[in-house]
Symmetry: C2
Subunit: 461 residues, 2 copies
């Protein structure tokens, strides 16, 4: 049963499992204690720190273990902002950072700080000069992911790090998705990562703070991990995390080549196999194992269920799979279609046959969802002609129904005429313009309506 | 090689190990995902939450898993204070809480809040009426441990909880040391605990917030664990923690009886076997496995090394073992001797023979340390007679030297005369009065001196 969601969590690497088992008996005691069990735990912790630091490319005393990648980000952002409070309270993030970074930014705003969110292009990449232009005299910290977790696009970290260094601003790199593949290039100041993304166990993150970076840990004092991450260290998990980082690095070059070829197959063949699909993310500057595409007229959650029934575990940035009913902030920032979104992220070792089987079942899975949604049982939306405008009332209908009804209606008006779609699903704001771009129709903007919003589309062809 | 420091961290319980191994393959995926690996992880997490809630005596939706007991305390105190911000900013703690509670209180003070630290008696117990008297109209939160981690004394939690409830103030109980032995009695509002204290793995704490308690999680938003503890859940460790809590509870009544008998042996026999020893903590209302005593004229760190060489792993609250060079805040609050302090905390299953062997090696270990410290190589402190006062200059000498020199000097002055000890070791402030109490001499107070502090002792006998 192929698991294609390594970007969420990778299964435990065999080396991590061995290291975890071996250190359960040796690493449970308090490493701050003077007796032999404590000394043994300390030795394991020190060795794991050295191994992790070597893989990151930093000094061991610059690296603290945290209970998760999310905690590493929260601690790193808060500590760096507080350490540079005298310089100012301005924070820069990209619009496509992981939610842990964006939520840290929101907390900073709520506490009176200011935040600039740097836009990305349609591939999800920030423009280094646009990022650099956001630097201000009062900028305390800048954050940029090494690569995006939803679409795999790599960010120009080294260039941005250089510009930040020149401006005297520390750059925090969230390397959660890339650290298993290799060290982060460039002259960054802080780095965060998460072990369960590289086959380590849950419960271990990394926070690296380069010597010389002003850093003031927030929250109650605690002596563990250089005062940067409170609470008893989870040494068996830390040992396993460090061991599996070394292991995946040893296999990284070969595995990257292999997975890149497999994701390239998906990128190339999905648009041919499935009509009305948009493959998103940078086709070249991307992580080896991630490929993301969106399917018009498809409800992402239903498609995930179809694929799960067919034996494939994938993820989605579609609004319909999220409890908040808002589409992925990443897809929104990229301005690409979010409906029917599927992220395939292959764990190392994925056999080519599994990818071929996936490509085999995908067209039918998408067709099945489209048939369900287009079936008369779902009931057509009311389309009423008012003057020369065709009004499609999709208020109260969730994605992808508004776009499906738009697609049906556009054929009923002459070229040059307008279709007015009334909708209150948040995803419509993203998906109707994306549909227009895919279909070569003109998106003429949105306006308030008595019920929901009105989205205007002029038929061009 | 007997390990007698279960109050720091207990070795992994056999049941915890089994549960951990079993769930490594089932519990690594993201429990928020819809595919089968995610659903399996969610089932494990839900079952562990139900089991832990049953052991605590709360509803599953009141219980969040955190990465450690320390984090549970930090999150619980901050969230409860913020949730009751409108009621006021006054916090009550006992003087003998775990450092995670006291450091949370310091952080609250630094942020402009006020804190009352309720004193304890010489057994380490708070007086319920004194605690209750600290309640004020602006009290937002009160914190009381179920039992003390250094001396094992049980606190009157149920009485204090009742008084807090009557005053409309939530009580947070740090149950880290007691939860393995049984649920916390009384009408408390919040509870925290730490799995590695009951034989669970590192990396798991509990935070329980009763329905109806105002609680506002602090820090960046995160959807995990009801928004109360950020970061990816460590499900295999959580499963193991819940399993071992059930397992130790099943053995608790029998094991408590057995360990209590063993610690009673230590309490009774150490003072007979070793001269100049003070056994501290409540003799009756105490945890089954903890016994703590202090040895006059002994350096705690050196004694720990002696005992470690003899094969016994114990802990100490003496200043000399701590990197900060201040004696245990618990012993200080109790007003008991801190020098040569030894905490024995027996893990479940400790055989009686190990305790007998410990009692066999202890007298020689203490004697060896005393011989080292009293040897001429250490050099006598300068004792100069000024008028009718004998001045002992122990400035620059670390504990227990000031007390050793005091003990030597007291014999050189007539009854009624005074010895003036100059010292700059923080422990002297605690240990000189404690020595006077043990020896029936009069402690006449301290005063500033040109170098360090001067401690005045009048010979009574």
């Amino acid at each position: 049963m192929p698991y294609f969601d390594a970007a969420s969590a990778a299964p435990l690497h065999a080396v991590a499992r061995q290291a975890l088992l071996a250190s359960l008996d040796e690493g449970w005691a308090d490493p701050a204690r003077l007796y032999r069990e404590g000394r043994r735990a300390r030795l394991l912790l020190d060795a794991a720190r050295e191994a992790a630091a070597e893989a990151v490319g930093c000094r061991p005393d610059e690296l603290s273990f945290t209970p998760s990648g999310t905690r590493a980000v929260h601690l790193g952002v808060a500590g760096a902002l507080a350490g540079r409070r005298r310089s100012g309270r301005h924070l820069i993030v990209s619009a496509v950072e992981h939610s842990s970074v964006l939520h840290s930014a929101e907390a900073h705003e709520a506490a009176g700080g200011t935040v600039t969110r740097v836009a990305v292009d349609r591939t999800g990449r920030v423009d280094p000069s646009a990022y650099t232009a956001a630097l201000r005299p009062d900028t305390a910290l800048a954050c940029l992911q090494s690569a995006n977790h939803e679409v795999g696009t790599e960010q120009p970290v080294a260039e941005v790090a250089g510009a930040c260094r020149a401006a005297g601003v520390p750059l925090l790199v969230d390397a959660a998705q890339s650290l298993g593949w290799g060290p982060v290039e460039g002259d960054w100041s802080l780095l965060t990562a998460s072990a369960h993304k590289w086959g380590g166990p849950s419960g271990v993150g990394l926070l690296v703070v380069r010597k010389g970076v002003r850093f003031a840990p927030q929250g109650p004092v605690d002596e563990r991990e250089s005062g940067r991450s409170a609470g008893f260290e989870n040494i068996p998990a830390i040992v396993a995390a460090a061991a599996s980082l070394r292991a995946v690095r040893a296999e990284a070059a070969e595995e990257a080549r292999r997975l890149r070829e497999l994701t390239e197959r998906i990128r190339a063949r999905v648009p041919a196999l499935v009509p009305d699909v948009e493959v998103v993310g940078d086709p070249e500057r991307r992580l080896p194992g991630i490929v993301t595409f969106s399917c018009l007229y498809v409800d992402g959650e239903t498609l995930l269920h179809e694929l799960d029934r067919a034996g494939f575990s994938v993820s989605s940035g579609s609004s319909c799979t999220s409890s908040t009913l808002t589409p992925s902030h990443v897809l929104r920032a990229m301005g690409v279609l979010s409906e029917g979104n599927v992220r395939v992220s292959l764990p190392p070792g994925t056999p080519a046959e599994d990818v071929e089987r996936f490509l085999g079942v995908l067209p039918e899975a998408v067709a099945a969802v489209r048939e369900k949604l287009g079936a008369p049982a779902a009931g057509p939306a009311a389309a009423v002609r008012e003057d020369d405008v065709l009004v499609v009332d999709a208020v109260g209908r969730r994605c992808p129904i508004p776009v499906i009804e738009l697609a049906k209606a556009i054929g009923e008006v002459p070229v040059g005429s307008t279709v007015r779609v009334l909708a209150d699903d948040e995803a419509a704001r993203l998906d109707i313009p994306a549909w227009c771009e895919m279909r070569g129709q003109e998106y003429a903007g949105e306006e308030p309506a008595d019920r929901g919003r009105a989205y205007l589309v002029r038929r061009l062809s």
